[in-house]
């Protein structure tokens, strides 16, 4: 029966001020049931203060076949990392 119900992706915010984080997925007939099921499956040990549910089919993802073009170019650009730069001695209030 579970296969008749659409899949939902669950995002939980563990505490105020932090971003929602993907925690897993579940089956539910509609959004309301998805929220309730998410509450029972993913927050029963006090893990969260807020839940988002999104239909899995509504998520647009990157194509794994294009990951070279998308992600590899940033590999050799270490100057984009803050750690690339040396902080000169004596600088305050940076």
């Amino acid at each position: 029966m579970s296969t008749d119900w659409p899949l939902w992706e669950i995002f939980v915010r563990s505490e105020n001020g932090l971003a929602h984080k993907h925690v897993g997925s579940l089956h539910a007939a509609d959004a309301e049931m998805a929220v309730q099921n998410a509450r029972d499956l993913y927050t029963r040990r006090n893990e969260g203060v807020s839940i988002w549910v999104v239909r899995s089919t509504d998520i647009v993802a990157t194509d794994p076949a294009q990951s070279e073009a998308l992600f590899d170019p940033s590999e050799d650009k270490s100057y984009r990392q803050a750690t690339f730069y040396h902080v000169p001695e004596g600088v305050k209030n940076l």
Partner: protein, 249 residues
């Protein structure tokens, strides 16, 4: 105080018996998500039962704690309402039974949070939060099943018709209730009837289900007169500690 012990026992036993019934769904629910949800509800109810029954034992002051009360009393010593001991039946039967109870418990715990017995008020306040969620779930399922497929509608209506006769007892007071009202500890059960009917009637209407007429109502659970269903439940629940009283884990 004898009446207070009796009064607390009733809330504890109702929570306990419904917990035991609900827990029997684990590994049998229609979907995995629902399995976990039902287990959560059952665990909440077991937790409430423990708080009530430990207190009942303290009031009694004969050295019985919650475990002793749960595992070493016969059906006639149980004080739960008849509604909660009714068999699980199908999923609609369980959800309707839960909804009738949750709608009542939400009101009852709301009243008890104003009890002048601090312990009762504290247990009620904790239980009220959990019950609000149980009610949200059971009401949601009532509407889904009633306003669902032809089969789910039929089963939900059948469950409502079958269980209706156990709802009258929820609002029936006796001398224990009267004494608790008089000393500011408890509430008048009759006073919950109107708000309960309002909530239940509205939910039934949304679920496209027909509210049964006011017919004969079963009574006696609060005084220890139970249906045979409770005997089987207790036999299964108590067999181990009764057979091996010294068993520990």
């Amino acid at each position: 105080m004898k009446a207070k012990g009796e009064y607390v026992l009733r809330f504890g036993d109702s929570a306990l018996v419904l917990a035991q019934r609900t827990a029997a769904w684990v590994a049998h629910a229609p979907v995995m998500e629902e399995d976990v949800a039902l287990a959560n509800v059952a665990l909440d109810l077991f937790g409430q039962a423990r708080l009530w029954l430990d207190y009942a034992g303290e009031i009694e002051a004969e050295g019985r704690d919650a475990d002793r009360l749960v595992f070493h009393r016969d059906a006639s010593a149980y004080r739960n309402v008849l509604l909660v001991e009714q068999p699980n039946g199908n999923f609609a039967d369980t959800m309707v039974r839960g909804f009738f109870y949750d709608a009542w418990a939400a009101l009852a715990y709301g009243r008890l949070t104003g009890s002048n017995d601090e312990r009762i008020a504290a247990v009620a306040a904790k239980s009220a939060k959990e019950t609000a969620y149980h009610l949200r779930r059971s009401e949601d399922w009532l509407v889904r099943l009633g306003d669902g497929t032809e089969l789910s509608h039929e089963r939900a209506q059948c469950a409502v018709d079958e269980l209706w006769r156990f709802t009258g007892e929820l609002f029936l007071g006796d001398e224990v209730d009267a004494e608790m009202v008089a000393c500011g500890i408890g509430f008048d059960p009759q006073a919950l009837r109107e708000p309960w009917l309002q909530r239940v009637s509205a939910a039934l209407a949304t679920a496209t289900l027909v509210k049964p007429g006011d017919g004969w109502m079963q009574r006696g659970g609060k005084q220890g007169r139970h249906s045979e269903a409770l005997g089987y439940l207790l036999a299964e629940m108590q067999v181990l500690p009764r057979s091996y009283p010294e068993a520990v884990w």
